[in-house]
């Protein structure tokens, strides 16, 4: 899979949760990229994604910044 295809795949997974109302709760960075924990405000349901692609890691970071700004 090309880097771009990998990006699209990981971005779609991130968008899937965001569109369902999940919010990024925690990010753990490690040697394989980042594990992103999502939590749904209603019901406190959590999901995690391993995001390895560099552009996808930029992507969720931008979403997290946006989320923080909206939360201010």
């Amino acid at each position: 899979m090309s880097e771009y295809q990998q990006f699209l795949s990981e971005r779609d997974k991130i968008d899937f949760y965001i569109q369902k109302g999940y919010r990024i709760h925690q990010v753990k960075e490690h040697l394989n990229g980042a594990t992103v924990e999502f939590i749904h405000p209603k019901g406190n349901v959590s999901e995690t994604l391993l995001i390895g692609n560099a552009n996808a890691r930029k992507y969720f970071s931008s979403l997290l910044m946006k989320q923080k700004q909206a939360g201010k």
Partner: protein, 428 residues
Amino acid sequence: MADLRINLAGIKSPNPFWLASAPPTNSGYQVQRAFEAGWGGAVWKTLGDPILNVTSRFAAISFNGQRVAGFNNIELITDRPLDVNLKEIYETKKKYPNHAIVASLMVEPKQEKWHEIVKRVEDVGVDGLELNFGCPHGMAERGMGSASGQVPELVEKQTYWVKEAAKTPVIVKLTPNITDITATAEAAAKGGADAISMINTINSLMGVDLDTWNTIPHVAGKGAHGGYCGPAVKPIALNMVAECARHPNVNIPISGIGGVSNWQDAVEFMLMGATGVQVCTAAMHHGFRIVEDMIEGLNNYLDSKGISAVTDIIGKSLPKYSDWGDLDLNYNIVARINTDVCINCNKCHIACEDTSHQCIEMLTDISGKSYLKVREEDCVGCNLCSIVCPVDGAIDMIETPRELPPMTWNERQSVINAATQCKADITK
């Protein structure tokens, strides 16, 4: 005609082009010829206890047909008696009162030695002093030059001693042979320096002869490291000037040195914070008259920009120079190949395929003609293809429409750390 005059910490000159302390400023004869050619100032070849030199002394690197891309020397400071130099400085200053003459000085790190030479040199009418804390060879083995200049405490102390005696502005010339040049720049400022200059030469061995196995240069079969300069060191010097210029605790004028070969180089150094520049290798390569093109080019550039005084450009690019952590991670450019200009040499394809991100495809159109195309979604905008391309205009680096808002590494880490520590605001 723009005003090219500069004033470096009180040292005035008719233009920003000075000759650096080096072989071109060894004697009154040379400095006077330089002033006749148009140089605005000269830093006299370093004065101190006269030394003994060896032969041979210089070596150069030629790269792909460019002669003197880099230059190396193992010559030391002046080998002429101080009185001879002082007499010539006096005569030169008398003849050229509006040109800047700065005396480069190097003595042992002792207070009385500095006081003595400062007094004697200022008595003949120099416009300023430059303390040579940078020469990396020969003198360093005797505890002077870069041996002094690599220790911030010694830089501060000696600058302080000089300032105790000096009546003229004191420039401290810094060595690049140090991990962080801002440490010694700050020490110079603490010691009371009126200005700093950089860079002196870089420790170097130019080569080894494959037949004789002698070093280049060698002296009767033995070599020693020398000082490297010339066009090859310009990027190193430019960064060091910029780092000092933006350092909050340095805050004194800078004389830029290191590979300045033409007016464009001078503009770059001044945009990055230098008040003026010093030149050596280019003059040694092409002669004093290169300053004519430098003056004309600088003047035309300023006129074309509508800038009336060269001092107006000092430091203008500094706000654009920052730390990596402040760069926008979401800014994107991609390569685009102009097939009407491309000669299909495939260098970009090879470079990208072998050493970058494998995004330049070799394709064939319906007429059977081969062409190259960038798969833009996989291009990381590294610039390598446009760097190796031998044809101007064949590859453009194009900004792509922004998909995400600007985000720096520092901003990213801030929100990620906050999320990690506080588990964000989701639980609120």
